[in-house]
Amino acid sequence: MSVARLTLLHTKYSLLETLRVPIAVIGTIVFPALALLFFVVPQQSVAGDEEFATQAVASMAVFSVMVGSLFSFGLGIAENREKPWDPYLRTLPAPGIARVLAHVLSTGLMAVVALVPLVVIGALLTAARATPLELLTGLFAIVVAGLPFMLLGICIGYAFSTKAAIAVIQILFFTLAFAGGLFLPPLLFPDWLNAISQFLPSRQARDFVIWAVQGGELEPLTWLGLVGWIALLLAGALLLFRRDEGRRFR
């Protein structure tokens, strides 16, 4: 049985499990769309300006992928670690990489679906504009910019219990979203907040995606920061993953 086939198999059943609780799916998809409707659409100064509106939609897209990744990986892993079904799956003849890839694929697919209402609302109710090519580069940039949040989610999932993970994720995503300029554009930030903001992965992800869609200058701090966060969080995720072995028996 090839890894590719097993990955698709696990992706299929992971999605099936998710779809069986439709309200959870709707929550993932509706939350960013609502945020766009409430925070951006009513503000004519932003929604009516092509540049600002496009940036706002890109910010919401980053927000959507960030929240999706943190919850899916953070909460998903923390939950699975508490359920005996996960160790059972590990006894089946499927290598671990197939299950990890399946998690990434199913989360990624849900994240892409969640982007659809954002793009539609952005196109219909705001002045945001992007050519199909710009949308495509934007999508590609989001996949890269989503990596730190996937890895952060993995770290949280292995470090905390389900209940603790929920609290940690909620505090993190709100702080990261606000201080990263995903709700309010950094243009409105005081200098001190802007300085801190530039070191956050959410701000770097936002700037990276906006650069991919709108072009212009990419600050070295943005891509260096993203690479740094990915390296740091990858190391953390591997460390916590190893530490987890046999943990529930102590």
Partner: protein, 297 residues
Amino acid sequence: MATLASLANVTRRFGDVTALYDVSLDIRSGQIVGLLGPNGAGKSTLLSLVQGLRRPTTGTVELFGGSPQNARNRTRLGSTPQATALPETLRVGEVLEFVGAHFENPVPVGAMLDEFGLGELARKQTGALSGGQKRRLSVALAFVGRPELVLLDEPTTGLDVDARRVLWEAIRAQQHAGATIVITSHYLEEIEALAERVVVIDGGRVLEDDSLGAVLARVNLRQVTLRSPQIGRVAQLPGVVRHSTDASGATTFYAQDSDALIVALVRSGVPFENLAVRGATLEEAFLTLTDDRMERA
């Protein structure tokens, strides 16, 4: 007989706790091996090593001649999830399909459903199943990939007598079809009904590894409780393997044949009162086995 799985001088520690100590064991094809021991004896740890879920602290574990950590060596292995582990939102048929899809030549889902009496439940979500139905599905999952070696961890715990017998029948049918089965239990009755070879394990050590008959003779004890001023003389009677006195002064003697012991007791003329006879629990029998080992060592 081919060796399907083997443990050689395996020790596994969890922090300060030693779950298995210097265990060596070969599982050969065609048998039903009963792994008998009280809760916490190390049975589940032993299975998890064979499944590749954990690595031994020292010693080696082999599955089909290789490391159980390698997924390829697990293609001929079947195991059961805990009944509470089934993904609640998936349907019975879907869970069988999903697990079966990991193997080269799985049993068709329909045949599996019939064999384990799950026919009408195929479209039910597993969260809606009763305890007994969940157990049956869990055990069915172990067999769906036509495995050569099947590990069943306490397959009938919590089931009523009828449900237990139904499941035993299904397990026996699988063995006749050629599967080698390792079954853990803390019920002597279950091991008696299924196993041919019995491995008794307690405190992380293998205490006995013998045919069912031989092990039963050693663990199937009766206890005779009485009060007497001459405990020492009673203890010397033939058939007494162990005795202990509780705080109230009553002494319990363990023997395989309690009738013979009582006949001998009466003939000896030793004064006694408050005589009571009952079967020994498995835990009590294990204590006797552990004591034996200490004396021999």
